[in-house]
């Protein structure tokens, strides 16, 4: 499955990047992410700890949400096209949440012979709450 090449000329400011809808977050996924990332803060894996912290149970890792945000860019233009990814965390996630990531091209420019697109990203929960807002920059090939 080769990725479809996205060319600089074909992308307009305001273009909506194909959205990504993730599978529901599960407690098992949070355990897997704890192991994979090395973030063993018990607030993500130990139910009683999450209750004591006032969340009524475990909450998702912020960096898992950022990983979701990265996927909209890599699904669209590939990992090696990505030059910058930044996010600001707005709300926590919980098991069973379904996260959708949306993105829009905000700027196009050429610098040092390379073609860049800046994108605004947003990740929302099933109820529409924003969990993160972010920005990404990718370099695209010209035709």
């Amino acid at each position: 499955m080769a990725q479809k090449e996205v060319y600089f000329e074909d992308v307009k400011v305001g273009y909506e990047i194909p959205e990504v809808v993730k599978d529901p977050i599960t407690e098992t996924q949070l355990v897997m992410y704890a192991g994979a990332s090395g973030d063993f803060n018990p607030i993500h894996t130990v139910h009683a700890f999450g209750e004591k912290a006032g969340f009524g149970g475990v909450i998702g890792h912020g960096m898992l949400s950022m990983a979701f945000a990265g996927q909209i860019m890599t699904d669209w233009v590939g990992a090696k096209a990505l030059k910058k990814l930044s996010v600001q965390f707005r709300a926590v996630t919980k098991p069973k949440d379904v996260i959708t990531i949306k993105g829009t091209v905000s700027k196009k420019y050429t610098e040092d012979g390379k073609n860049f697109v800046d994108c605004d990203l947003i990740a929302i929960k099933q109820n529409g709450d924003k969990i993160i807002v972010g920005q990404a920059t990718a370099v695209l090939p010209a035709k």
Partner: protein
């Protein structure tokens, strides 16, 4: 409350090797089924020498490296800690088999009023260099500490 004198503080260098098994484990954990993270054949068709690396894979370096050092040295209460923001700048490709080294520095500390009172914002930056001395990645992490 954290003392302003921490700005400029540098932490010892940490080293990481980029391993295929860890990439696959990480991709599975984030639920990303893109074959470029699992199969060298699939990644090769997209122009990668080996597996591709997910954009937030460097989280692993940050947690084991700079974050552990900063939290340990500043004695931050984990129950008051939030992750405010995160930025990665990809300067050069990171490849399977690379050994990268990073040094974390605290670059800013400021406070802002929040819904639940004044909060401290601590910004740390880590620049990673590969085995050839090439800068590959800049990681800027903003921690929020509730007072």
């Amino acid at each position: 409350m954290i003392d302003k004198s921490v700005v400029g503080k540098e932490y010892p260098e940490v080293e990481f090797e980029i391993e295929k098994g860890k990439i696959r484990e990480f991709a599975r954990a984030i639920g990303d089924k893109n074959p470029v993270y699992y199969s060298e054949d699939a990644a090769g068709k997209e122009g990668y020498e080996s597996l591709a690396i997910p954009p937030t894979f460097p989280t692993i370096f940050g947690i084991a490296g700079g974050l552990a050092a900063v939290l340990g040295s500043l004695k931050i209460d984990m129950k008051k800690l939030l992750h405010g923001g995160q930025e990665y700048e990809y300067l050069n490709p990171v490849k399977v088999g690379d050994v990268i080294k990073g040094k974390t520095k605290i670059i800013d500390l400021f406070d802002k009023p929040g819904k639940a009172g004044v909060m401290d914002f601590l910004v740390m930056e880590t620049t990673y260099v590969n085995q050839n001395g090439q800068e590959v990645l800049r990681d800027k992490c903003t921690l929020v500490i509730r007072r």
